[in-house]
């Protein structure tokens, strides 16, 4: 499947973090590549998309969408600074 990009999960991330996260910069914990969230490779799937590092291909983020809510697990991506509004 062809990957989309981090723009595709921007709505879910904004809902969780209360701020636009597309330009938030972080580091892949697997290979240390720095990137903006908008630049990650995002694969749509059920129950929610996964984001992978474009350099090493490892999963850095998992979005779980359920009725009435969204959960984001970002174990593989270290944000350089927390979003301003959190």
């Amino acid at each position: 499947m062809q990957a989309l990009d981090g723009n595709a999960i921007a709505g879910s991330l904004a809902e969780v973090f209360g701020a636009d996260m597309t330009m938030a910069v972080g580091r892949c914990v697997h290979c240390a590549t720095r990137s903006m969230i908008a630049e990650l490779a995002v694969y749509p799937r059920v129950p929610g998309p996964v984001a992978r590092c474009r350099t090493c291909g490892n999963v850095v983020m998992v979005v779980i969408e359920f009725h009435g809510g969204v959960e984001v697990r970002m174990d593989g991506f270290e944000l350089e600074r927390p979003p301003a509004t959190v």
Binding site: M1, Q2, A3, L4, D5, G6, N7, A8, A10, G11, A14, E15, D20, T22, M23, M36, I37, A38, E39, P44, E65, H67
Partner: protein, 231 residues
């Protein structure tokens, strides 16, 4: 929904009255969530086609026949219906001002660029902008007459290229957006254009790679991909 405009055979623009809308920036998108009677939900992202200055919020939707959301939006939806929107979303692909600005669109990837071009006109922005827009045929060009009009303004240039079929007497470009075409129509890397690319994944990656190959720094290039899963 206050109006539905046929753009091409499979593309419609939804003109919305959104009283609680907080305003948006050109290039942003919204998520639309549909809920079936049994509670099943499906959600997709759509770029905003209207300028921040426009009276109504406009979304342009291409119908993907085996999609879950677009056949409803671009088929069954009627004036007076209501939609559940989340947005505006995204800062990375937004554009307020600054240039020169090169916009590279594949298919319905032109939608956010219509917002940017209308914003440029409405806000009196003088930055030079150029849109390169690839479609399979003239019949599949979205906003054709409007883009042609907008291209008449000072500092605005629109380059159409048709990849499969061109009308008789077509004097525009033929063929894909490749390194040669981009070299021909783009500003040079020394002129430091901002570059925005929107389209299907394969289109975006080929155009971005060609521009990097031509010497444009990756950090001047912003990309937004959509796929068949966008249906």
């Amino acid at each position: 929904v206050v109006d539905i405009v046929d753009e091409t055979a499979d593309v419609k623009s939804l003109v919305l009255d959104a009283p609680e809308w907080v305003g948006h920036r050109a290039g942003q998108h919204v998520d639309i969530r549909l809920t079936a009677e049994d509670g099943y939900q499906a959600q997709r992202s759509y770029s905003i086609a209207s300028a921040p200055e426009d009276e109504h919020l406009v979304l342009t939707v291409q119908r993907i026949d085996d999609g879950e959301v677009s056949p409803y939006l671009a088929g069954e939806l009627r004036k007076g219906d209501e939609l559940e929107l989340r947005g505006p979303i995204g800062g990375y692909f937004a554009w307020d001002d600054g240039g020169p600005l090169l916009m590279v669109a594949g298919g319905s990837g032109v939608v956010p660029f219509r917002s940017m071009l209308r914003h440029r006109a409405a806000a009196g922005i003088t930055a030079e902008v150029r849109l390169v827009y690839s479609s399979r045929s003239w019949a599949q060009v979205i906003y054709g007459p409007e883009l042609t009009d907008l291209a008449g303004a000072d500092g605005v240039d629109v380059v159409f290229t048709l990849t499969r079929q061109a009308p008789e007497g077509w004097s525009g470009r033929r063929g894909r957006v490749d390194r040669m075409l981009l070299d021909d129509v783009s500003w040079t890397p020394a002129e430091m254009p901002l570059i925005y690319i929107c389209g299907p994944t394969g289109f975006v990656e080929a155009a971005a790679a060609a521009l990097v190959d031509l010497g444009h720094p990756a950090n001047r290039i912003r990309t937004e991909r959509f796929g068949p899963s966008g249906g």
